[in-house]
């Protein structure tokens, strides 16, 4: 079974189980294209590590591809993490801030 085919089937089955219908409504097309965008983006981000070391980039790219196929429908998680709950945003800001501090102070 081709992996792309099965990934698409997985996403479509997941989304139709949430929204109902035969898979061509507004919400489902949006969610599935968003899911594929996230998959591509995760792989792009993994491949960006080639700047430090080219084999590292290749390994991370393969790993990201496997992870994407394994955890396939991540769009609901992404949507949840992007929700406008005040405490969640505060939490993410504090995480971000500590990462920025760690990265920049690491350069000294």
């Amino acid at each position: 079974m081709g992996s792309i085919d099965s990934l698409y089937d997985k996403i479509k089955r997941y989304l139709t189980s949430i929204f109902g219908g035969e898979g061509s409504t507004d919400a489902i097309t949006g969610y599935s294209s968003g899911e594929l965008q996230m998959a591509v983006f995760v792989m792009l981000l993994a491949s960006l590590f080639r700047i430090f070391l080219i084999p590292l980039g290749i390994v991370l790219l393969l790993g990201a591809a496997i992870m994407v196929a394994y955890f396939a429908p991540i769009i609901r998680t992404v949507e949840l993490e992007n929700s406008n709950d005040l405490n969640r945003v505060l939490f993410w800001v504090i995480v971000y801030f500590s990462i920025i501090l760690a990265v920049t102070l690491w350069g000294i």
Partner: protein, 124 residues
């Protein structure tokens, strides 16, 4: 006993205020409590900025009529922190007023001060 300078003491108090303020804003559920935590946070920032300008054994940065102009820059505390803090206090008051007004308006709508009820993440 360990000798702690006044500046370090100020930084310690400021750190406590900032940490308490952020923790309060994160963990407390009541909107007015969140507002109080916000005032504590801005107090902590003010204290940190004032402590930044402190000079050990220095004088208040106001030039007396009979003071020496040449020794004044070496002795006086640094002025940049207070310059920011004065504005920061005023901005803190106006932000508090806006927040209080919004809290009152939302209380009239929802009949509750609980952030988990009023501010939960939802889409219209």
């Amino acid at each position: 006993m360990i000798e702690i300078s006044l500046q370090l003491l100020g930084f310690i108090a400021a750190t406590v205020l900032v940490v308490v303020g952020i923790a309060g804003m994160l963990y407390l559920d009541n909107l007015i409590k969140k507002l109080i935590a916000f005032t504590l946070l801005s107090d902590g920032v003010n204290l940190a900025l004032v402590s930044l300008g402190y000079v050990q054994g220095g004088i208040v940065p106001i030039l007396e009529p009979d003071a020496s102009i040449f020794e004044f820059p070496n002795e006086a505390a640094l002025i940049f922190g207070p310059g920011i803090v004065l504005t920061n206090i005023v901005i803190g008051v106006s932000t508090t007023a806006i927040l209080a007004a919004l809290i009152v308006v939302l209380y009239r709508r929802y009949g509750s001060l609980k952030a988990s009820k009023v501010l939960k993440g939802d889409r219209e």
